[in-house]
């Protein structure tokens, strides 16, 4: 695919400048032909060099992150680990208990249906939701509670609440789990964490390809866009955890990249089928990938044109067939098992505390809701365990606001036309580039609205549900910053952007992540035979998911 993009945008081919009606852009292309290949070759060489170094930095950072975050401390890591275990050892997908059926079975003294976490995972119960957690209690430590009472009603405790997630990630991880079976639980989960790094690499690679495809002459974007993705703290975190988010992020990144290719080269049958496969796989990776459907629809509509309904319909079939073929069995399984296609009814009944946050429009303008999403985008880590300092958040906010302001300035300049003296092809996007940017912007909007919509049903809506559009957000925010930097200062500007990202990561690891690790290990002496105690270490106070007052969730 990379070769396809590269060959089409290769120096001198001019294919990146599509033929406009009347051939105007073709004329321009011909005139610039001798100058462009040199500049493009230079950008490509610099970008390639940078990308190789970036990958080394990213992989090394991820390897370190696997060890730097305490075992099972990622959001729902225990649940994801348990899912992999069930699939690998029993060759089946776990199932959510149905609350009423579970209560009836319990009353009758029967074994209730539904999957529960294995007892050996109880030492890490503080990182789960819905598992009454007192691992150093003489009784519960050896016989973890499976039932709790809430306002005199019985509820299951320690049930597999990730059972309604689609199976692709867990199927891919099963061989890794089986390979590591002889090792300790910590080592097994570390191996699974290592196996998620390639999905992070794929996301960074797709960010690079997207920038190079969309603006092949632009070294600022070729360097800062993949760097943004590689050093975005929460994307990195997802790529060093046992979770299906990072696979969803990588696959949705592929969907966005293919959409941009389609807008540039046309939605051929081959590309449309590939897009359908990517959408189908992303739906098998994470339910939030449903956001791909309107985005792909918009891309096809813009690419083919609303005046050609037959062409749009044909692409719809080409994309829809593989999507349906891949995803339908999973949704059929959900419907057969739960009577709905997401298992949310069952989750809502089981998680008595996980109630709607408010109405859609109410959340859309709720200041606290927006603020917490921002905090989760850059920090918090897992179930809101590591809070970032306000000054650091303000610094990030200022740069983010600058990115938005710059993007608006870019839109104005691109629409009105930049002054002729400005030697900047990025400021003069051709029609397909404008459409691609519209699609990427729409992806970000859809991603955020999906998080808001989820909040109307569950308090535990989180920023990570919009992480799958990270490469779109990266290109738009870097495009914004780029617009604010004068052309001659851009080499310096891109260095400063990358430096800020590196500095952010160093600060987070030294000031937050490593002390958090020490705190957790000190607070869980049963994992280390008491060799590490809190008094010995510089630590921070920590809060696990279960220590959070539920009233604070989502607000």
């Amino acid at each position: 695919m990379a070769e396809l993009a590269e060959s089409v945008a290769a120096p001198g081919t001019g294919a990146a400048v599509p033929l406009a009606p009347g051939g105007a852009q073709l004329d321009e292309r011909d005139a610039a032909a001798p100058a462009k290949p040199v500049a493009r070759q230079r950008v490509r060489s610099l970008a390639q060099r940078m990308f190789v170094v970036l990958l080394v930095a990213f992989v090394a950072k991820q390897l370190f992150a696997v060890a730097a975050f305490p075992a099972f401390s990622g959001h729902d890591e225990v649940a994801h680990f348990s899912y992999v275990r069930t699939l690998a050892t029993e060759a089946r997908v776990p199932v959510l208990p149905e609350l009423e059926a579970w209560r009836t079975s319990r009353q009758l003294g029967q074994e209730p249906a539904g999957d529960f976490f294995d007892t050996d995972l109880y030492p890490w119960c503080r990182f789960t939701l819905d598992w009454y957690c007192e691992p150093d209690h003489p009784r519960w430590g050896s016989d973890p509670p499976r039932v709790v009472t809430v306002r005199q009603s019985f509820y299951p405790s320690g049930f597999q609440y990730a059972a309604n997630h689609p199976p692709l990630y867990y199927a891919l991880m099963s061989p890794v789990y089986l390979l590591g079976r002889g090792f300790s639980l910590e080592t097994q989960q570390a191996l699974l964490r290592l196996a998620t790094i390639p999905f992070g690499v794929a996301t960074v690679f797709l960010a690079y390809r997207l920038a190079r495809t969309l603006f092949p002459d632009d070294s600022f974007l070729a360097i800062t866009v993949p760097a943004f993705v590689a050093f975005q703290p929460q994307i990195s975190y997802e790529s060093a955890m046992v979770n299906n988010d990072i696979l969803g992020i990588a696959l949705l990144s592929l969907v966005l990249y293919l959409c941009v290719l389609g807008l540039r080269d046309g939605f051929s049958r081959r590309l449309s089928l590939a897009l359908g496969v990517a959408v189908g796989l992303s739906l098998l990776a994470k339910g939030t990938s449903l956001m791909a459907i309107p985005v792909v629809g918009l891309a096809v509509l813009l690419g083919v044109g609303w005046r050609d309904p037959l062409g749009v319909a044909r692409r719809g079939v080409w994309i829809g067939l593989p999507t349906a073929a891949l995803a339908a069995p999973w949704y059929w399984f959900l419907y057969r098992t739960y009577g709905n296609i997401d298992g949310f009814e069952q989750i809502a009944a089981l998680q008595w505390w996980n109630r709607p946050l408010g109405g859609f429009f109410q959340l859309l303008v709720d200041r606290d809701f927006v603020l917490l999403r921002f905090k989760e985008t850059w920090g918090e880590y897992g179930w809101r365990q590591i809070h970032l300092d306000d000054r650091l958040l303000w610094a990030i906010a200022v740069v983010s606001i600058l990115g938005v302001v710059g993007l608006v300035a870019y839109a104005v300049l691109a629409r009105r036309g930049a002054p002729p003296a400005w030697d900047d092809s990025t400021l003069r996007p051709s029609a397909w580039q404008v459409k691609a940017l519209v699609v990427l912007f729409a992806a970000c909007v859809v991603g955020y609205l999906a998080v808001v919509q989820f909040g109307t049903r569950f308090a535990l809506t989180q920023a990570r549900y919009y992480f799958p559009v990270v490469i779109a957000a990266a290109i738009l925010s870097m495009l914004g910053l780029r617009t604010l930097i004068p052309a001659v200062w851009r080499p310096i500007g891109r260095g400063i952007v990358v430096a800020a990202l590196v500095a952010l990561n160093v600060t987070l690891f030294v000031g937050y992540v490593l002390p958090f690790h020490a705190s957790i290990v000190a607070q869980m002496p049963w994992l280390t035979d008491g060799t590490v105690v809190a008094d010995d270490l510089p630590t921070v106070r920590t809060r696990g998911g279960q220590d959070n007052p539920f009233g604070e969730f989502g607000r």
């Binding site: 170094v53 930095a57 370190f64 060890a67 002729p420 080499p491 590196v502 590490v532 510089p538």
Partner: protein, 133 residues
Amino acid sequence: MMPGGVPSIDDGKSAVVSGGRDAAAVAGGDRTETARVEDQDRQARRPPPWLGRALWALVMVAILGPLLVFPVTLGAGDDVGDAVRLPAVLRSFDRTLAATGWGDAARVFVWGVAGLALLAAFALLWVAFASEE
């Protein structure tokens, strides 16, 4: 008019190259010359090449210096912890690594990749600050 002020030979209008140079000869057909002149212009307006390298060195000092000189305040908000020196933070992580029982080889590996990540990040900055474009 072409992006970048390069005159189009087809538009039939008088063309002006950025920087105010007379473009008549260029519009006559010598596009390679146009590119060369444009390139010279761009080079002349660009910050000196040493500036990127100097900034790179400055950034390294700015990132690592405060960590080496000043104590790090751990945590934030309600969870703010102690202010401690960097070596203490690293030592504590090393001890927790040791306590997790992965053995010395794993510890060396973890510290090795941390060093490699830092080195690669600074190499990345070197490339990012490179003035060529």
